[in-house]
């Protein structure tokens, strides 16, 4: 097969009905330290262990059809993330959730799930904002000061190149955590394929502008605690879309 034939084969998607299940999951502990590709592979293998009839992409190198809402960076835990799993046969949602849970390594938990229509649109395209819980000494006041600025320009490395980026428009809101102490902060930031603020960039800005200690920034606990669709301030929480 030559190059063009190969491309043709890849784009020729034989139409097979897909049964899509949206699963809400959390990750913690050692599983927080793997990258996005490793997380995808881990889900893939877990689904195979669970014995589900995974739907594969067509063409040259068929891959199971798994779509994650938003990649999770290395070192970030989550209590509210989503993956769409496509199966070739309909299954009861409770069976999907329980079956997968039993096959997942420690640190990954299925929290909820529901079937979504095939025509529902890509879960990736829906994400517009994310909420992160940050834990470090005196992080709340430092973030408070950062939010008072009208411009926060940091160096961002993307595709091997450094460029300057004002992240202030991507910083949406700052809140206290449940305990209202100074060592915890909840931030709402732009997220998704269009505009995305990674929490490490926010921490970088703290060290650059607010004299936040490097050591504190490096060891700051970062947990994703919410994913949203819609336009700020009219955001819609993913978990309420069942």
């Amino acid at each position: 097969m030559n190059q063009s034939e190969r491309e043709k084969a890849m784009t020729l998607l034989a139409h097979q009905p897909a049964f899509i299940y949206r699963l809400r999951f959390s990750r913690s502990g050692s599983l927080s330290f793997i990258g996005h590709l490793d997380l995808m592979r881990t889900f893939e293998r877990s689904l195979r262990r669970a014995g589900f009839p995974l739907l594969h992409s067509q063409g040259y190198n068929p891959r199971p059809m798994l779509v994650f809402a938003l990649p999770l960076g290395v070192g970030i835990s989550t209590t509210d993330d989503y993956v769409d799993v496509s199966l070739a046969e309909a299954r009861d949602i409770m069976e999907v959730m329980a079956g997968l849970q039993n096959a997942l390594p420690d640190g990954l938990r299925i929290l909820d799930g529901w079937p979504v229509p095939e025509t529902g649109g890509s879960i990736m395209a829906m994400v517009t904002a994310a909420r992160y819980r940050l834990q470090a000494q005196q992080i709340f006041p430092a973030l408070q000061r950062l939010f008072l600025r009208s411009e926060v320009t940091v160096e961002k490395r993307s595709k091997g190149q450094l460029r300057m980026l004002d992240i202030r428009p991507l910083m949406l809101a700052l809140e206290h955590g449940e305990t209202e102490n100074e060592n915890e902060a909840i931030v709402l930031v732009c997220a998704g394929s269009h505009e995305n603020l990674r929490p490490d960039l926010l921490l970088q800005a703290l060290t650059a502008f607010e004299d936040f200690p490097l050591q504190e920034a490096a060891n700051c606990g970062v947990e994703r605690s919410g994913l949203y669709a819609g336009t700020y301030p009219d955001l819609k929480c993913f978990k309420e879309m069942i």
Binding site: L31, I34, D38, E44, R45, L47, R48, P62, G107, Q215
Partner: protein, 638 residues
């Protein structure tokens, strides 16, 4: 040494983990690991445990170590023992090594994050010589005395096993106990002794380390280096290796598993959370090799050939695929084509995996019409490259090394492959083989050019539109290894190697050919260690203390630095590498018995010089000695 915080888990800060390459190397938590909660509970209650804590150590990074089948088999075997909890530890890469030293973080196990010095045993899996200083790194980071003679009654027992232990002499200063041969049964017997040793420590009369080692020495295959004295002749060769205690055997015989069908095999294997080098599930088709290529150590030390039946393999394959979720199943052996039930096995597995998107990988195949068809059948994706290992460029030299492959074989198979649409070929050769002349080296270039021509001839003859031909020619340096018919041979000098490489570089200039040559420096050091004796112990120690670790990684290795250390200790690399041995010489490894007799190896060497080949074990038994184990191919038709 009394520590109040014994067994306390090592905690790594988030910032530390994020500052190193691939933190998943150090975090554990994979699917399929063994956590013996009862051990942790007992420690919480009493501060101690009656279980044997075994740290399975691999002296290279996680991604390499987890790709090794022995790690998985022995992890499984040990954790099946009711009194043992086996955990894993790997060499931290340089970034983590630095961080651990800076912050006084001890090396820990992945399962429970327990500091390695709190274990009863550290068992090292030694797969290649160049990992030796990483053993020292792991001991050092654990806070365990590096030399066996410096360890006290409370220090862990340090053991090793693996393919390189057939000559482990350079490492004997650092190892308390060595297991020679296949470990599945031996290690269980060893654990029984270990249990007595550990239990005695709670009584009024604790067993000493010395007594324990003497008891362990009674297990067949167990080698206690400290129980042997080595004396040298004036010319630096060995006079004699002799036991220095009563009741210690003069020779240590390797262990083999005779019934592969009954051998323990993990079907619920660990599935790493991060990508490793060989990221797939494995079946082990057989051990040993019927071929007897004269340069190949594995071909002799793993004798006799013992196959697992297709029935058992098929059951294991189906179970592994289900239990691990892997989408690729690799068939492991030294020469896959020689597995007697290969077509039946692959057919059954393929039909069992129908619709699963699971592929089979068949490495180490001889290329012929059968294997081409099979390769096409088993792989879901595109035609990857074909690999040939003629090893030598002329028929004369291929006969010398007993590589039972002719130019006609190669040409016929390649013509078939080219007609079938393959356009990428890899060819492996060795430089510096015994009796090699420049004519043989030129023969490599000639063979490569003939293959290049063949490709375009096939195109003309069949009228096919041919894709661009991609040929990769790779040469490695011949390393005379212990327990081969070439163990007496000299290695080529640097100058000879350079000259030979230059000849090939000049003759292989073509847009279709990519010529890759292995690092010369590494080969020189590898032969020194592979054929080395106990005098290399202090050299390795000093090299380690000077910071030489990860020698298996070309960009970490420096021959110059090692040569300086070697000379400082009054040793010369030429003595180990370039010097040819006489048949009378006592080798540093002569007290190890791998089952193949020295007189057979000498006979094979003479045949090599006479350019005579030796038939495979299945065609004719040459009486190498391996039949003494009482099983395998030696008894197949009897």
């Amino acid at each position: 040494m009394n520590r109040t915080n014994k067994y306390a888990p090592v905690v790594l800060e988030r910032g530390d983990l994020l500052s190193v390459e691939n933190p998943a190397r150090y975090t554990g938590g994979e699917w399929g690991i063994t956590i013996k909660q009862e051990v942790l509970d007992e420690i919480q209650r009493t501060g101690e445990t009656k279980y044997i804590r075994y740290a399975f150590c691999f002296p290279d990074i996680y991604e390499i170590g987890m790709s090794n089948l022995a790690v998985r088999i022995l992890y499984h075997v040990l954790n099946q023992c009711p009194d043992v909890w086996c955990e894993r530890a790997f060499s931290p890469w340089k970034d983590m090594d630095r961080l651990m030293r800076e912050k006084y973080i001890p090396l820990f196990s992945l399962e429970s994050k327990t500091s390695l010095r709190d274990f009863d045993i550290l068992g090292f899996s030694l797969q290649y010589e160049m990992c030796y200083t990483n053993v020292l790194q792991m001991l050092d980071l654990s806070g365990i005395p590096l030399r066996s003679c410096d360890r006290g009654e409370d220090d862990p027992i340090i053991t090793a096993g693996g393919p390189v232990v057939y000559n482990i002499e350079p490492m004997t200063d650092f190892l308390d106990l060595v297991m020679i041969g296949e470990g599945e049964e031996m290690i269980v017997e060893f654990m029984a002794e270990m249990k007595k040793y550990k239990d005695s420590k709670k009584t009024g009369q604790p067993m000493t380390r010395e007594t324990f080692l003497q008891n362990a020495a009674k297990i067949e295959g167990v080698y206690i280096p400290a129980f042997y004295d080595v004396s040298y002749q004036e010319d630096g060769t060995i006079r004699e290796v002799k036991p220095n205690r009563p009741g210690i055997p003069a020779k240590i015989r390797k262990r083999v598993i005779l019934d592969m069908d009954l051998a323990p095999y993990p079907t619920q294997s660990i599935v790493p959370n991060t990508k490793i080098v060989h990221d797939r599930a494995y079946l082990e088709l057989f051990r040993g090799c019927i071929r007897g290529c004269r340069f190949c150590q594995a071909g002799f030390v793993y004798r006799p050939v013992r196959e697992k039946s297709a029935k058992v393999l098929c059951e294991q394959g189906i179970e592994i695929e289900k239990a691990t979720g892997y989408d690729e199943l690799g068939m492991l052996s030294l020469s896959t084509s020689d597995y007697s039930e290969l077509p039946g096995l692959t057919d059954r597995l393929l039909s069992a995996f129908d619709g699963h998107h699971t592929s089979l990988s068949l490495p180490s195949m001889r290329v012929d019409s059968f294997s081409l068809e099979l390769t096409e059948k088993v792989s879901e994706t595109r035609k990857s490259g074909l690999t040939f290992a003629p090893e030598a460029g002329t028929q004369r030299l291929r006969d010398v090394i007993n590589k039972g492959i002719t130019e006609e074989d190669i040409m016929t198979s390649l013509a078939l492959a080219f007609e079938g649409g393959w356009s990428s070929v890899k060819l492996y050769f060795m430089l510096g083989l015994p009796t090699e002349t420049l004519e043989d080296v030129i023969g490599i270039a000639d063979l490569v050019r003939k293959i290049e021509k063949l490709y375009f001839e096939v195109g003309r003859k069949t009228g096919q539109r041919m894709r661009r031909l991609e040929m990769t020619v790779s040469t490695s340096m011949f390393i005379p290894k212990p327990f081969t018919p070439f163990q007496w041979e000299r290695q080529n000098t640097m100058d000879e190697f350079v000259q030979k490489q230059q000849i090939l570089r000049d003759r292989l200039r073509s847009k279709n050919i990519k010529y890759i040559w292995h690092d010369l420096d590494t080969s020189v050091w590898e032969v020194v260690i592979a054929r080395g004796d106990r005098r290399l112990g202090p050299v390795l120690l000093e090299g380690y203390l000077a910071g030489h670790i990860f020698d298996a990684w070309d960009d970490c290795f420096s021959l110059g630095k090692w040569m300086t250390v070697l000379e400082k200790h009054g040793l010369k690399s030429d003595f180990y590498a370039i010097r040819a041995r006489t048949p009378e010489e006592v080798f540093p490894w002569d007290h190890i018995d791998c089952g193949v007799r020295k007189d057979f190896l000498l006979r094979e060497r003479e045949r090599a010089y006479a350019e005579q080949t030796t038939p495979s074990c299945r065609e004719h038994c040459e009486g190498c000695g391996a039949a003494g184990f009482g099983g395998g191919v030696c008894y197949e038709s009897k």
